[in-house]
Subunit: 353 residues, 2 copies
Amino acid sequence: MDEKKERKLLILHSIIKDYVETAEPVGSRTIAKKYNFGVSAATIRNEMSDLEEMGLLIQPHTSAGRIPSQKAYRLYVDELMKISNLGKTLEADIRDSYRQYVEEIDNAIKHTANMISRLTSYTSIVLFPQMDTLNCKHVQLIPIVEERVLMVVVTKENIVKNYEIRLSRAVGNEELVKMNNILNHIVKDSNFKNIGSDLTEKLETLSIEENQLLQEVIPIFKDILLKKQEDSVYSNGITNILNFPEFYDVMKAKSFLDIIEKKSKLVQILNEAGKDALNIVIGTENHVAEFQDCSLITATYKIGGENIGSIGVIGPIRMNYDYVVSVMNFLSQELNSQLNKSEENTKGDTIGK
Amino acid sequence: MDEKKERKLLILHSIIKDYVETAEPVGSRTIAKKYNFGVSAATIRNEMSDLEEMGLLIQPHTSAGRIPSQKAYRLYVDELMKISNLGKTLEADIRDSYRQYVEEIDNAIKHTANMISRLTSYTSIVLFPQMDTLNCKHVQLIPIVEERVLMVVVTKENIVKNYEIRLSRAVGNEELVKMNNILNHIVKDSNFKNIGSDLTEKLETLSIEENQLLQEVIPIFKDILLKKQEDSVYSNGITNILNFPEFYDVMKAKSFLDIIEKKSKLVQILNEAGKDALNIVIGTENHVAEFQDCSLITATYKIGGENIGSIGVIGPIRMNYDYVVSVMNFLSQELNSQLNKSEENTKGDTIGK
DNA sequence: TGTTAGCACTCTGCATGGTCGAGTGCTAAT
DNA sequence: ATTAGCACTCGACCATGCAGAGTGCTAACA
């Protein structure tokens, strides 16, 4: 009885494999011939009929072959799929390619996105470090000219963000330093997530004069944390999707591309995808209607053990899951070691300062 | 004889108008009826036949109507078109919408791009200020942690760019200040365009010790000016193009979108478009093959009288030229006054400093 | 009991051919 | 110079028919 079931699954596996390659419904003959099971097409037909009853196969119409259902892909991903390596040389090449992206974290992440889309030929979407997962180390205000000031925020994770701000009046250098000191005093060591309540609390401990000084910077400081959300996502290989017959219909392609352009939606999608090391969201498992013809595979990256963002790839449901998963596994691992290597180097000294 | 020609042009005008609206070849009857010229379709037919001989109309096949040739659009743009205003209320709304984008120049430009694509329903592409058109005012090195340093470059035009860099070793605060001083001494007031030769020249005037100090920062400083090219373009409304029947063919759409994703190509296209206040490039007048089904309308923006970047819109050749031109006129004017208003405010004091 | 060959059936894709309508060019009349 | 009329052309659309792929069922076989 068990080997019976075994064969069914093998057949399902073959069907999925074939369909992923060809995008055409696959018939019993194809399976019998191409994947020599040593039984006739008729037998395969019977098995396929069973698989259809189990909800794993779908027949577009009477005399077409069958295609895997979403449930089948889920089964495949959960139980059938075997994840392989990318191969020593490719892995070494990728590792090498990170060399030039050591300075700015965002570049390493962008590079990861580019690699994802290049390797998988699907569309990649990545989140840059999300402010609300980070912790403030210190803030520095730097005069540019007149009332214009550059605010540099360094997080405990050693991520640097900076923002050009404009005060309502020109502020002298000494005043700016004073501002900076007080500001630092209250934002230091706070967690950006609770910054709203934290700050109002701490502001109360300050003198009236000090409050006055910060009157203008504080709202700006808070704003920044929210505002940059739409800059916090990057995507590459958006036209790759047009290579797949599923999207030859211009309207489908458009609704896909529309979302990719709507950065805020992407942030949401990535946030909903799950926070495991690797997450697979197939078709309607995604809550965003426009992506229900797609599958999404995401991974997270960490600094100092804390999840601070994620990388993902989005393609048709008929996706090469095992390959894509191995790509994502390797790249997220590589990105993580990249990010944390540089942290290891500096962290010790930072704490000591 | 003159009023004869007059009529031909009126007919051409009508055909263009109709074709721009409907994207269907337009026949003699349509023109006769819809734009009541007071003559019969047969007469129009004769005129159209003449216009075709003149190379202004094209007949896709014997029994279809006719469509305007590229030459016709050029004629239209150069001589026939009347540019109107956008209307007081719309103009006021747009002007208002700039309010919130005063802090960072790049945001004002991005906003302009968003407005372009929203108003025209074509795809907008814009260049952020190009480093090589700017002049250096000063540079500031700010320690982040260990060997990581933030380099802030302020231009004479008061544009601020900043880059995270990594030195080969941790550098103490005093040393960094020293570095900063020497660096500033030699880069100050130089024009980024000639920075290569300028710097080598000035480096020779420094002591060996000073040279040593700058050894690492100088190449980085030069790199920066080139490196960020691909970050220097932004585009919005890329999927708008899919609304036009010209791009219902997926392969056409793909080759369009591919270029939009290739930022470096966009920079080239915008640079080739011309540096007048307003430039119109129709179809094959563009040298980039993939955009020869498109028309491009660009405008420049200035700071202190100097061209530093451009904004543009790209759509099908069958474009609503007069409307788009009026949009671009208004927006570039608005952007310019936005950029230079803020400069007026500060320039005086800056020089005094 | 599982497997298989055979056969009728179904459905799509494609080529064919005919009709319709839109639009033209030409000619002759005004 | 303009126009009405008419023959002509071509694409869009639709019905038809055929070939090919694939199925489900049945009866025979190991």
